[in-house]
């Protein structure tokens, strides 16, 4: 269970990324945050594991307040999947997955890369689950396609049996067909293990297809919160209208903004 209480994030440059957010996400839900670039999706996600600290308000994870003092307790239970996959490209696939288990490994063992056999077997099972095979184990991550890299990243996310997965634009760098496969995998894997997922997306069609619940964000504010069926064209228009205005005032950040643009025009 994740709880935001009047959480607000204002960056040093004055941008308000998250504005007075009050929200509850029950355990096991696949909750999609929909919005264009700059709407604050990423900040909302990062508030939960403390990668972004709230300027005011409160964020709770399973009843524990997210503050620097509790990071050590919270973070190993929260996994993250990133837009740019963030694998270590020069390391092997297996090593990348095992790196997800570092908080549960002693520093000495980690320095010597001595991972317990059960952990390695679990990594293998997860790689099998995400659709990779034995021949991939000792290949470098750099040799995989984008979709395969994201699959490895999902395996890495699940290795510590997280209670929550934060997926920050997991498919923004992938083409639509592969995007579906990745979201399918993420949803099924979380269903099997009862894991909560907070996933940010900018494509309304993908959100409607995979979400249990959609939270529409514009300029850091929640302007929609409901079931996928309730998200109508007019609401989508409003979510992106706010974003379009924001985009003209704020600096764009390349590929994400471009993706958001195509998505909003597709509507």
């Amino acid at each position: 269970m994740i709880r935001f209480k009047a959480a607000r994030k204002r960056f040093a440059d004055g941008t308000v990324a998250v504005d007075d957010l009050t929200l509850e996400i029950p355990a096991g839900q696949f909750c999609v945050f929909l919005g264009a670039s700059g709407a604050g999706k990423s900040s909302v996600l990062k508030l939960v594991n403390g990668m972004v600290q709230p300027t005011s308000g409160r964020v709770e994870f399973d009843g524990i307040e997210v503050v620097p003092r509790t990071y050590r307790e919270i973070r190993p239970r929260i996994a993250m999947v990133h837009q740019q996959f963030n694998l270590v490209l020069r390391s092997t696939i297996l090593r990348n997955v095992l790196a997800g288990a570092l908080p549960g490994t002693s520093t000495t063992a980690a320095m010597l890369s001595l991972f317990p056999a059960e952990l390695q077997q679990k990594a293998c099972r997860l790689l099998e689950r995400v659709g990779l095979s034995e021949k991939h184990l000792y290949r470098r991550a750099a040799h995989l396609s984008g979709g395969q890299q994201q699959r490895v990243a999902i395996a890495r996310a699940f290795i510590l049996d997280p209670t929550l997965v934060l997926a920050d634009e997991p498919v923004a760098s992938l083409d639509p067909e592969i995007s579906r496969g990745i979201l399918q995998l993420l949803r099924d894997a979380s269903r099997e293990s009862g894991t909560t997922v907070m996933c940010s997306l900018h494509q309304p069609d993908l959100a409607r297809e995979f979400a249990d619940r959609i939270v529409g964000l514009a300029r850091g504010k929640v302007i929609f919160d409901g079931l996928p069926d309730q998200l109508d064209e007019e609401m989508i228009g409003r979510i992106y209208a706010g974003a379009r205005a924001a985009r003209e005032t704020a600096e764009d950040d390349g590929p994400v903004a471009l993706g958001a643009l195509t998505a909003s025009e597709a509507v």
């Binding site: 190993p76 390391s91 090593r95």
Partner: protein, 334 residues
């Protein structure tokens, strides 16, 4: 889209900048003047003029007329042939026993001894080892390489903590960062030759003083390069691991080290190669190895021996480079 109050200019009217600005020309002019002043102060003008005169003198077939050409001739005429043999005078010919000669060695009752001008001054009765000097130089070179390897090991050991504390994002605080960076700068700033002299005061002349000098001096480079690389490594993977709660050391080991390893190996290889060259020079201040011999021979104007040593050093550096490249390719593996 168009909320702008001013109408945008058409592309045809956009201002393009010249590649060569007035400022660039001004800077070049100032640079040229400064270099011209400096050239005189550093005797660049005199050196170039002397070289020109030497070339003219050689071309006209009168090299004796130029001081520079005379100097070159003196060195080159004695540098070749290379001296690769060694000899030991026989003090008591009556007691000489041919059966105790080492392999390939022979007795020469009229072995010529030359002076610094290359003229034979006298003949001695001696045991001659045909490649005796070459093997002697080889032995000294091995000793030099050993000093260089130990210097590099020491350098890496010192630079690892310097790199950790000198990398923003891993160092505990601003103070430790500044201290680590300052140590790097200080180590780099002290020339190894001076460092060797200082260490020789404490430990006495010999290999250990040389090893310390090399290790301390080059750790300034390695520490800085390692730290800079850690700072510049891609942030994404580091964020990914840090977000799971992995501590800094683990993030460094799993997200940074694999990225920077090829660079680290390249630096280590360069430092080793550089240490081999430096170790030869360090011998001149008595820090062991081939430099001691080079210095002695140079002082005695034995240019034939000197050129043997120089050639041996060149071949050694060349071979080391080949080995290092192969090792690196194996370790990085693509």
């Amino acid at each position: 889209m168009n909320n702008d109050t001013t109408t945008p200019k058409p592309a045809a009217e956009w201002q393009l900048r010249s590649v060569y600005s007035t400022r660039l020309f001004a800077l070049l002019a100032v640079g040229a003047v400064l270099l011209a002043i400096s050239a005189h102060r550093s005797e660049v003008d005199k050196g170039l003029a002397d070289s020109g005169r030497a070339i003219v003198a050689v071309v006209r077939g009168k090299p004796e007329s130029s001081r520079v050409a005379r100097g070159w001739l003196r060195f080159l005429s004695q540098a070749f042939p290379l001296v690769i043999a060694s000899y030991e005078p026989i003090e008591n010919p009556e007691e000489f026993n041919p059966d105790t000669l080492p392999a390939f060695a022979y007795r020469d009752t009229k072995y010529p001894i030359k002076d610094t001008m290359g003229d034979v001054v006298r003949y001695v009765d001696a045991v001659v080892k045909p490649i005796g000097y070459l093997t002697y130089v080889g032995g000294l070179l091995v000793q030099t390489i050993e000093i260089a390897i130990w210097g590099t090991i020491l350098s890496v050991l010192i630079s690892i903590p310097l790199a950790y504390f000198g990398a923003a994002g891993y160092t505990p605080n601003k103070f430790s960062y500044n201290v680590a960076r300052a140590i790097c700068n200080m180590n780099r700033a002290i020339p190894e030759l001076i460092a060797a002299l200082v260490f020789a005061v404490a430990y006495g002349q010999g290999a250990w003083a040389g090893i310390l000098a090399l290790g301390v001096h080059t750790s300034g480079f390695l520490g800085k390069f390692f730290a800079d690389d850690i700072e510049n490594a891609a942030k994404g993977p580091q964020e990914a691991l840090a977000s799971t709660g992995a501590n800094k050391l683990k993030v460094l080991r799993y997200a940074v080290l694999p990225q920077v390893m090829p660079q680290f190996l390249a630096y280590g290889q360069y430092i080793l190669e550089r240490n081999v060259r430096s170790a030869t020079v360090l011998g001149i201040v008595g820090a062991g190895g081939i430099g001691v011999e080079l210095n002695e021979r140079w002082k005695q104007f034995d240019y034939g021996h000197v050129s043997t040593i120089l050639l041996a050093i060149f071949i050694t550096v060349f071979i080391l480079e080949q080995i290092a490249q192969r090792v690196r390719a194996r370790l990085i593996g693509e």
